[in-house]
Amino acid sequence: MTTAEILRYTQETGDFSRMLDGIPYAGFIGLQCERFGDDLIFRLPRKDSNIGNPILPAIHGGVIGGFMELSAAIYLMMSQDVLRMPRIVDFSLDYLRAGLDRETFAECRLTRQGNRVANVMVTAWQKSRSQPIATARAHFLLED
């Protein structure tokens, strides 16, 4: 499958497995994505190798960041109709609660899309959406 075919397949079926298979880092942390109507929910099932605090234990803050950053990029890719990783410019992350050793979810919102730059908000939570573990904001470059 060409990259354009993978994008079309993902958009038509809502099955992200082929797209994610092409991104090694997604498999490295275990990122998954599901579509509900027009909404995308990103999932990070619990995984021993993602632990960064052995005492609590809790997920490594960098993994939570990487999960949210990759979620934002895939979300943007799906809304752009081009299967090319958008270039990230900057990423700002607030940790609100410890990300415990359990499944984590994320959702994204396109705050603003200009001609060259897009601003994406990401919220991550575990047990309850009303108690986010982290919020993030990313800028992406849409063209080179």
């Binding site: 991104i23 090694p24 052995p54 490594h60 990230i88």
Partner: protein, 156 residues
């Protein structure tokens, strides 16, 4: 505390973090002002298969780990400090097949908060990313003594 003690303590600390071990992070340099960690290149952390460039998430983890471990080098006692926030600016994509280094410093330490700066670079000092962070001081007693002893070892 000598620089080799600092290196040993940070090495023991990052070896207790499964994600840092999985990424293969190692201590490149440490003194009383700064800490440098190294992230080796590997296929499994590629973010863009067309270019072989590693994903920013691996660099975020590298910089979060360096910034969160620099306290071991600058504070007299081991304290685990949770990250409050991070801001990462990506200067340019990391070149494939080469390690990425992250040098972190704590430029301001208060009773409650530690402010950090970190730069990720590759050989010849080419900057890949910059990161500023804040970390909360929850006190050494918040970390179990057995874990503190594991990090400080016999060299306390």
């Amino acid at each position: 505390m000598t620089d080799s003690v600092r290196k040993d303590r940070v090495t023991r600390f990052i070896n207790t973090l499964q994600q840092a071990r999985t990424l293969g992070l190692t201590v490149a340099d440490a003194d009383d002002q700064q800490l440098t960690l190294c992230l080796p290149y590997s296929q499994k952390i590629i973010g863009n298969p067309e270019t072989g460039v590693i994903h920013g998430g691996a660099i975020t983890t590298l910089m979060d780990t360096a910034s969160g471990s620099v306290m071991i080098c600058v504070l007299p006692d081991f304290e685990l400090c949770p990250t409050l926030d991070l801001r990462v600016d990506y200067m340019r994509p990391a070149e494939p097949n080469k390690p990425v280094y992250a040098r972190a410093e704590a430029y301001r330490i208060t009773n409650n908060i530690i402010f950090t700066r970190c730069e990720a670079y590759q050989e010849k000092g080419k900057a890949i990313a910059n990161c500023v962070g804040t970390f909360m001081r929850i006190g050494r007693e918040a970390t179990p003594k057995s874990y503190r002893d594991l990090i400080t070892g016999d060299d306390a």
